[in-house]
């Protein structure tokens, strides 16, 4: 079951990230579905599952950009681990808590992903980077919230997501 679960999630998220996400761009801002899924998995299934899944997902998307290869994998995996710790300590089973976690995690991840590969460029354009990261986080929460709500309503996916 876990292998099948990993595989199906990998296929679905990689498909979404490569094929669907570029078509959801609004003013050049894309939702970060990958981070959101990793956060949801970490909140539902804990550190171990989420770190492996984050690794598999991030490596797939990382391969598309040789310039920044490795950064996404590293940051997403750390983020998955940290969200796993949150789940073990202060988790509240509430959609608003999950939405807040996605918002926070996406925002912090976007900032880190922009800062670490090119710190000087990030600091030179700090307000813009801050705004872009924030809008990506908000957009992600909106898109994922809608998606999860539809999945839970129509297909009873509550056990997984």
């Amino acid at each position: 079951m876990p292998i099948l679960f990993y595989f199906v999630t990998w296929i679905a998220v990689t498909f979404t990230q490569i094929v669907i996400v570029p078509r959801l761009a609004v003013l050049g801002i894309f939702p970060d579905i990958l981070t959101a899924v990793v956060v949801l998995i970490a909140l539902r299934h804990g550190r171990l599952t989420s770190v492996w899944l984050a690794f598999a997902l991030a490596v797939s998307v990382d391969l598309l950009d040789p310039q920044k290869m490795g950064w996404m994998t590293l940051l997403i995996s750390i983020m998955a681990y940290c969200v796993g710790i949150v789940r073990d300590t202060i988790y509240i089973d509430n959609p608003w808590f999950e939405a807040t976690m996605i918002l926070l995690a996406t925002f912090l991840y976007q900032l880190a992903y922009r800062f670490f590969p090119e710190p000087q460029f990030f600091l030179d354009n700090f307000p813009k980077m801050l705004a872009v990261s924030f809008f990506i986080a908000v957009y992600t929460v909106a898109v994922v919230g809608l998606g999860v709500w539809i999945l839970r309503q129509r297909f009873n996916f509550r056990e997984v997501l």
């Binding site: 498909f15 490569i18 990382d62 391969l63 040789p66 994998t73």
Partner: protein
């Protein structure tokens, strides 16, 4: 530090993170060439189906958009065609009443360009159609965008075409709107010029220039280009007209030879 290390290695849940971190750092510190190679291998192997699907959807999107544009254009062209058909019948009726000869429909022989030569002394091109397809010297050669020249030598399976950009090539033409007549020659820098157009006749920038049919080679009404600039010549008697050719001489690929013989001047 020892406590931290011991804590991490003793915690089974931290092990995946350590492994993943090491792999990520290796990926980050790889030289760019190696990263590009890894990226290429990954993209061409297990990401290949996703990329193909993405490309397929993009193509589908482009097809939908162009289909919508073409449908819109088809709608407007249907109206234009119906109006032109009406005009054609009216024209034929009026020509019959005036005892004019009817227009001969043009017969086009499609041909592919083998080579284009912009050298001295001729600016010419070689096409893969010759006398076996009924092509002879002095037959006009066109593209859907306009006239490009005439056949100057026809072999059995290939012909040499003299381009409008050849200084020796001259075409009798007229401004479509005002019917002001002149001679088209090459002006240099991929432009044409129209000579001998009297100053009192109108030739405005944006007007279309078509063949007049008076030279005996080109039939009447073939599009040549659009007037870019129009001014007075030195003596003040004629227009000095610069024309942008309709055909793209840098991208000649397929052309049509008009093989219909027509009697000109009427």
């Amino acid at each position: 530090m020892r406590y931290l290390t011991k804590g991490i290695f003793n915690n089974p849940q931290a092990l995946p993170l350590i492994i993943v971190t090491i792999i990520s750092i290796v990926m980050i510190i790889l030289p760019l060439d190696a990263r590009t190679t890894v990226s290429r291998i990954g993209t061409l192997s297990f990401l290949y189906p996703f990329n193909q699907l993405d490309r397929y959807l993009s193509r589908l999107d482009t097809i939908f958009q162009s289909n919508r544009i073409l449908n819109r254009r088809l709608d407007s062209l249907t109206v234009v065609v119906s109006r032109l058909t009406e005009n054609k019948y009216e024209n034929e009726r009026l020509r019959g009443m005036l005892d004019f000869e009817p227009h001969v429909p043009l017969r086009l022989v499609p041909s592919e360009v083998i080579s284009v030569s912009f050298g001295y002394p001729f600016k010419s091109m070689l096409i893969n159609a010759g006398t076996e397809k009924g092509i002879t010297s002095n037959m006009p050669v066109i593209t859907p965008n306009g006239v490009i020249g005439k056949v100057i030598a026809a072999g059995h399976r290939s012909s040499t075409v003299q381009l409008l950009f050849d200084p020796a090539c001259k075409v009798a033409a007229c401004v479509q709107a005002s019917r002001a007549q002149g001679i088209i020659t090459y002006a240099g820098n991929n432009y044409l010029t129209m000579r001998d157009v009297p100053i009192e006749l109108s030739a405005l920038p944006g007007d279309s220039v078509v063949t007049s049919g008076l030279g005996g080679v080109f039939p009447e009404g073939l599009f040549i280009g659009t007037i870019l600039k129009s001014g007075e010549s030195e003596g003040g008697l004629f227009h000095n007209i610069l024309i942008a050719p309709g055909a793209d001489f840098d991208a000649l690929d397929e052309v049509f030879v008009i093989t219909t013989s027509f009697s000109i001047p009427r």
